[in-house]
Symmetry: D2
Subunit: 315 residues, 4 copies
Amino acid sequence: METLGIDIGGTKIAGGICDEKGNIRCLQRVPTPEDAADINAVVAGIYQRCKNDGDIRSIGISAAGNVASDRRTVSFAANLPAWNQYPLADAIENLIGDGVKVVVENDANAAGWGEYRFGAGRGSRDMIMITVGTGVGGAVIVNGQLARGGFGMAGEIGHMVMVPDGEACGCGLLGCAEQYASGSALERFAWSAARRQPCQSEHLLEACEYDRSKLIGPMVRDAARQGDPTANEAFDRIGEWLGRLMANLASVLDPDTFVIGGGVAEVGGMLLDPARAAFSRYLEASMYRQHASILEAKAGGMAGVIGAADLARID
Amino acid sequence: METLGIDIGGTKIAGGICDEKGNIRCLQRVPTPEDAADINAVVAGIYQRCKNDGDIRSIGISAAGNVASDRRTVSFAANLPAWNQYPLADAIENLIGDGVKVVVENDANAAGWGEYRFGAGRGSRDMIMITVGTGVGGAVIVNGQLARGGFGMAGEIGHMVMVPDGEACGCGLLGCAEQYASGSALERFAWSAARRQPCQSEHLLEACEYDRSKLIGPMVRDAARQGDPTANEAFDRIGEWLGRLMANLASVLDPDTFVIGGGVAEVGGMLLDPARAAFSRYLEASMYRQHASILEAKAGGMAGVIGAADLARID
Amino acid sequence: METLGIDIGGTKIAGGICDEKGNIRCLQRVPTPEDAADINAVVAGIYQRCKNDGDIRSIGISAAGNVASDRRTVSFAANLPAWNQYPLADAIENLIGDGVKVVVENDANAAGWGEYRFGAGRGSRDMIMITVGTGVGGAVIVNGQLARGGFGMAGEIGHMVMVPDGEACGCGLLGCAEQYASGSALERFAWSAARRQPCQSEHLLEACEYDRSKLIGPMVRDAARQGDPTANEAFDRIGEWLGRLMANLASVLDPDTFVIGGGVAEVGGMLLDPARAAFSRYLEASMYRQHASILEAKAGGMAGVIGAADLARID
Amino acid sequence: METLGIDIGGTKIAGGICDEKGNIRCLQRVPTPEDAADINAVVAGIYQRCKNDGDIRSIGISAAGNVASDRRTVSFAANLPAWNQYPLADAIENLIGDGVKVVVENDANAAGWGEYRFGAGRGSRDMIMITVGTGVGGAVIVNGQLARGGFGMAGEIGHMVMVPDGEACGCGLLGCAEQYASGSALERFAWSAARRQPCQSEHLLEACEYDRSKLIGPMVRDAARQGDPTANEAFDRIGEWLGRLMANLASVLDPDTFVIGGGVAEVGGMLLDPARAAFSRYLEASMYRQHASILEAKAGGMAGVIGAADLARID
């Protein structure tokens, strides 16, 4: 059965017809409008352009917001105030008609599911996807099913508190994982080290013109590749915290596989090597159990589209 | 369908026929022998005594050890060295014959499942059981299914690290939840406070004869009830950590229900009130989401028997 | 013997003749020029205006920077780049002539000494001054003498690390006391609490127009006085950390008196009550020792002038 | 001027005549009696045996207990209950007569002073002695004088809290430096690591017969020398915490010299190398200041005798 997968992101909406192998056909890309009704119109437009190309019975939508457990309503979206308790599935179903059924998923969950079904997680049964970007997002698969939680909020692994009274998080808590294993932590750790050891941070300090506010993650990556010890140390530190986070998650869920995605993870071993080492070091009963595989994501930028489409198919 | 549920504990083995409503019939209790073969014989004996009372096709066994994901082998049991990679299901099936199928479950998982199906968790779909005894154990239910993990180790929530470089845990890690939200933490916190404020700990210090090695959890409970401020403070502290642990778990799994069991939890509100308060305080996006129910366990001492029996039935 | 005390601050230079009782005569105030030579000229000008009013043999200068242990050279001043290894005493002595001797002190040390000699610390012998402003500064008096340290850097108590891997400090370390017991911590804690409990932060959120970047310490103070629970909680938290910091300092130096000054401390009990409570709670062997007095500073804005003048007299 | 120095330890009393260069003459050693009066008699006996060998006007006593700021009274001694508010100097002066004056010092202070005057600290002016044994003790010298504190309790540096909610300390606090930079921490860290990586701890586990209660510090030292990685790691960890402790102390007092003594420090570089590295890493403004020397103690077992004698002379 074919379904339409549509990923509504902050800057663009992407969608197309997805088959059961994760292939996309009739892919469309449209800038994201600011208004909720205009977004619905874009979704309907993608459906119209694709509908003669396949037999579409349902649409899976990946939405950047908290999705209620009915999988139809967006409870809250930080970047789109109009999506406050917004009945997104109803609105689109009414606009499209045709008896097409709409299912809404949180974007991290949809992408994690895409990775599970068609990417690095294929063959897994208990998988955790960790997205290391500016923050830390996640998706949790248990017994081959997506864990949405009782109220649709599962997978917010970046807000596990790892350091009591630690770095203040945007969410109002102190010491969230997101403040230690993320791109923003990378910048903070790099700046701290550079400030203390400027002679070991020449590439980085030049790149940001000695200005904290201009320092961004890719500069740390480049400085690490050029050999700045402080930049490498910053990757080691966020890698170590990522490993600790995975060890904590393994105590709860013992997944067979972790898949690490997000922009920061594109550096590969620079992040994953220290993460794997720390995972082993901090895993309970490390010597007496099998260890989860820790893999790089590979479903790419369309993971949300194919994941949402697949979730619309199977549930 | 009726099944036999048997709980092999450190001191006694209990078992009986369980129906689909969680009722037990033909309940047997036998002291636990030291030898693996003798344990098997006890299990077979319970089966023999019960088999004419019902139509038993399968036996669910709750075992105090790590159970492999095949649900037949005990990988490791701290208190029974002979159960090292021990094929428990094979051994019992061979001994009993009759075509009866044996399923083995970790004891915390079996009890958690019993609580989920027939106790405080009835009606839930995503539940986490937390057992607060000397240590902290757990069982995780996701989408109405038990989470066993990829290698049978899910639910070890007591070994999430909550305080980096914190109190040394028996597992070799530092700062595990088990060192902060458990009965042993209760003793440690009570002793620390009593040592610093002896005049506010009179009942407690008298009860343990001013000797740390004689101080046990029930003394703290009694001193708290008699009004020792330090004993009450110790309950507040482990309650606070229990709340923080639940908040961390909610970030990952967003359960609709937490069920709190174990010997320490029998004090009720003295533990649960501060735990609930801390849960709200440390929950991410606390104001903008529904909060899980936090309930006292109520399936009682037979939770493992009925849970194991039920798991043997449904899977 | 009379001496001239001069406090070179970031915005103004103040100075006058000080007698042995801490009285100031012939007080002058001049805006601080940007250039080192111009600053010297201002100091010389103050001397010229005052010299006929008394018999000035020496000048004590309070300087906002690190002062070398020779008490003549400014090693480093964050706000005045020209004062990098700058021989301030030489420069002023050469400019003034007359055989007048110049002694330079770090501004926190000078103010702490003023407080010790003429303010809340009178009669003490072992005193620690803690200045709670945007950051946390200090001055340490041991055996009735100012502790300058082997290299002039004593008293930087705001950079004791209190939370490993804690909040990033401007100095590049993580978890400095300055990030927990300061005005900037007050703002951070208040904002975190307000974000999580907006209905209990109405006065505060209105005052800052719901904008983190507009939130300043005095708004937290006012909101606390108007009854916002979150604002009061923020004062409790920084007070608690201040108490913990004092307990740590007491383990090292066991002062008879702490004097708490700085802008944030002007709220009095709102800060000092929780600080005193936490000090008792975290003090080693609290029950078995005498506790230091914890007093509000009272020497006021001229503490640096009279402290520097006095240090020039006695050493 | 010559004085008599006497060190009253838990198992033996040692004493002799000390000159101004730290030489000892007429050295006596006597087992420590259990009774306070008997201890006084031993002290008087040492005086009688030595008095014809020199012109003794005063006696300095190093006592294992808290000494009041009058330097005459022992407030509290953990190992000698009779020394509770005990007027030790009065008792001995009365017993001896002859107009000899007695001065009492805390043992850590006396030994630290001995090290300052005649050992590794010679030539220093601001020195901190850190004694790394089962616990962590200290002595603080500021401006060439011993810091006793307002109530005689200065130098208890082992009870600075370094990890909030960290390992429980015997004093009732959580996370004291003594639980991280001491011999008991060495054992704990070594055992934790060995438990998790037994194949890298063979020498250690054999030495203690796989029994935590038999594991003592010298076994960790020997295993480290034989190449057990886990034993080396344990030294690295306590070294790192020792470095962090020194960095914290440097923020307060900026000493020119740290002297590290005690049984654990006898391993030399195995402790001091990681301590020095961590000190540099955690020192505020590390790049912009002079760093204290970190030296091994060298006054040896008589440091308390010569230190007490010298303090009796100069004060």
